[in-house]
């Protein structure tokens, strides 16, 4: 039977390692997404992701099943490269019309060749749910 527990603080049975439930809710990732953009975009695994769209070379829009409350959330990520390259590499988010409470676009960059499709792109969102 489903049950609901209302509590302010969690501790271990010895009374140590106290954490407020606000930290449990606030500190949990609200979205994470691992996808392969090489060829046909494919989600490898995800949480709270309703859809993913390949919008351009090296850029994928991730849409959320449950929206965030506002735009004050944090996007972070990482990616590999399709081939060996000694240039720098960065995962960034596209601060454009795609950045809403319901979606964000992340891009993978290679300093030598601009935006590139990566086979292993990963991102996560931390912030407040609506």
């Amino acid at each position: 039977m489903a049950s609901e527990l209302r509590v302010n603080t969690l501790k271990d049975a010895a009374g140590n390692n106290s954490i407020a439930t606000s930290f449990v809710a606030g500190g949990s990732a609200k979205v994470w997404h691992h996808y392969n953009q090489s060829g046909t975009l494919a989600t490898v695994d995800s949480f709270n992701v309703s859809s993913a769209t390949d919008t351009a070379d090296g850029t994928v829009r991730t849409s959320y099943t449950n929206a965030l409350a506002n735009l004050g959330y944090a996007v972070s990520g990482s990616h590999n490269l399709p081939s060996s390259n000694t240039a720098s590499w960065v995962t960034g988010f596209d601060n454009s019309a795609d950045f809403t409470t319901g979606q964000v676009s992340c891009s993978t960059f290679n300093a030598g060749s601009g935006r590139v499709d990566a086979t292993k792109s990963m991102m996560a969102i931390h912030g407040d749910l609506a």
């Binding site: 527990l5 509590v7 501790k11 449990v24 609200k30 691992h34 990520g77 749910l129």
Partner: protein, 133 residues
């Protein structure tokens, strides 16, 4: 009234590995297990590498310059998880990170400076989200 729950393990009733937590907006719920970081570390990767702090990291191997492998105490369910990494290199304004090898039991990442040279990093940060085994 404030309340405190003392417990060592939280387990879902309907599904052991699934507990809902009400979100900040007081309406939508999020999955507790799915949202929790399953591993994280703050590593000093310069010189003799040393963990400043971590969770679920058994050990870190210094493979070569700017190249580290973090091994988990409790393995992930598969290699489909999402890894977040960043780096800070003392004296270098811009540095970047790259995935190398992703496995259920470990994650290998590389650091470099702008321009591409591999670099030991004084701050190697890693966070892992996904399914535990």
């Amino acid at each position: 009234m404030a309340s405190i729950l003392k417990v060592d393990t939280l387990t879902g009733v309907t599904t052991a590995g699934s507990i809902s937590v009400t979100g900040e907006g007081n309406s939508t719920t999020t999955n507790l297990q799915q949202g929790l970081a399953k591993a994280w570390m703050d590593l000093n990767g310069s010189g003799t590498i040393a963990l400043r702090d971590s969770n679920n990291i058994a050990s870190v191997t210094d493979n070569t310059t700017g190249d580290y492998t973090a091994s988990y105490t409790s393995a992930m369910g598969n290699a489909n998880y999402s890894a977040l990494n960043s780096t800070g290199v003392t004296g270098v304004i811009t540095a970047s990170t790259r995935q190398h090898t992703i496995a259920a039991g470990s994650y290998r990442l590389e650091m470099n400076e702008t321009g591409g040279a591999a670099a030991d990093s004084t701050y190697v940060h890693l966070g892992i989200h996904g399914d535990l085994a």
